[in-house]
Assembly symmetry: C2
Homo-oligomer: 212 residues x 2
Amino acid sequence: MLELAILGLLQESPMHGYELRKELAAKLGAIRAAISYGSLYPTLRRLQAAGWITEAAETPATAEEVPALTSRRGRVVYKITAEGKERFAQLIGQAGPETYDDTGFGVHFAFFARTDQATRLRILEGRRRKIEERREGLRDVLGRAAERLDAYTLELQRHGLDACEREVRWLEELIANERSGRAPTVPRAGTVGGRRDNDSPPPPGESRKERP
Amino acid sequence: MLELAILGLLQESPMHGYELRKELAAKLGAIRAAISYGSLYPTLRRLQAAGWITEAAETPATAEEVPALTSRRGRVVYKITAEGKERFAQLIGQAGPETYDDTGFGVHFAFFARTDQATRLRILEGRRRKIEERREGLRDVLGRAAERLDAYTLELQRHGLDACEREVRWLEELIANERSGRAPTVPRAGTVGGRRDNDSPPPPGESRKERP
DNA sequence: GTGCGATGTATCGGTCCGATACATCGCGGT
DNA sequence: ACCGCGATGTATCGGACCGATACATCGCAC
């Protein structure tokens, strides 16, 4: 999963580890807190060894100014290779069981702008199926095994069930949008947060800065 | 976390591994799918080595019938020890940072029936704080960094933000209930699932079958 | 000029997962 | 009478990821 996320982010622009972590946190903030360095750096080395990414030269503009006075060793910038792009396309296209768990789905969804529509649909439906199964499990427990459980545990299940139903509805809308029409945004009733600009941006397509 | 969950479950009745996994799935179904055997069995051994649990004799009633014809080796039943109960009380009472992440909070909450009110309150408020922070992060991204992100990523953040707001409200109600009054259940509008019995059972206290 | 928070790279031990292996039991089908 | 097959049950192994920790540099506020 981390591998896929890194490859996806480096496709937007070259970055060093620290930056990668921050971008990752911004892009996946809804899913996971922040990736640990204990995972990040070893994975970067693994990707580099596999040839999916390479170290890029630091400060490409106006080089040679004060060249190597303090043996400038900080900031290792990585960029994705052609093989890395192929690898990303392969990973984003194929769907194993882990594609539908919380983290896996989140990462795939975050890169939907780089995914073709058929795959998007497949992933959304797979996720829906998985959440529906969880929902049925919770309903079973709340129905059949309710008397064996204490009130707190029951309350936890109810909250979980509610979240499942909500996510299924969300997925339904995304699937409907995906099938006919385009815009990835779900119609919203009350505009819950703040702000109201930037609603319904233009259809997917590739994001800007594909090749700076 | 697994350690706490196992200790908590074994406090209700002795069990073997397979059963433990199923009970765990029922109790924590809203939080995590099912614990892996690759974690369960090593943890059981660790707990046994530490003296928190012991192997209990299988088939206590009507023993000696067909004693050892096929060398009956299956089903290792574990029971909690006095030290194990102390350990549980200690773990459930102290709160580190991991107490407030999704899994940690879920496990603590699932055993609220065995937790004193002050601790319950502390944990609920800690969780609320954590979710509020995540919520603020998402609002920031949706407000300030929105133009850098594609429509799918934004939709993911919005869904996450919605879930955060919902959980905060849920926690608010639980906290209010906890402070004055008793019943752990949150007032519900539509009764979404099925069934309507077993609503608002008597105040917490210990669950049944403390000592069979 | 000095401390301090942000930036930045890196490792280590530990927890947990997913795949896999293997053995037994009860039951239905043929 | 036999066979298979799904549920029950214990167990291990490699790998992914986390949390704590260490350490070094930079800019800037006091």
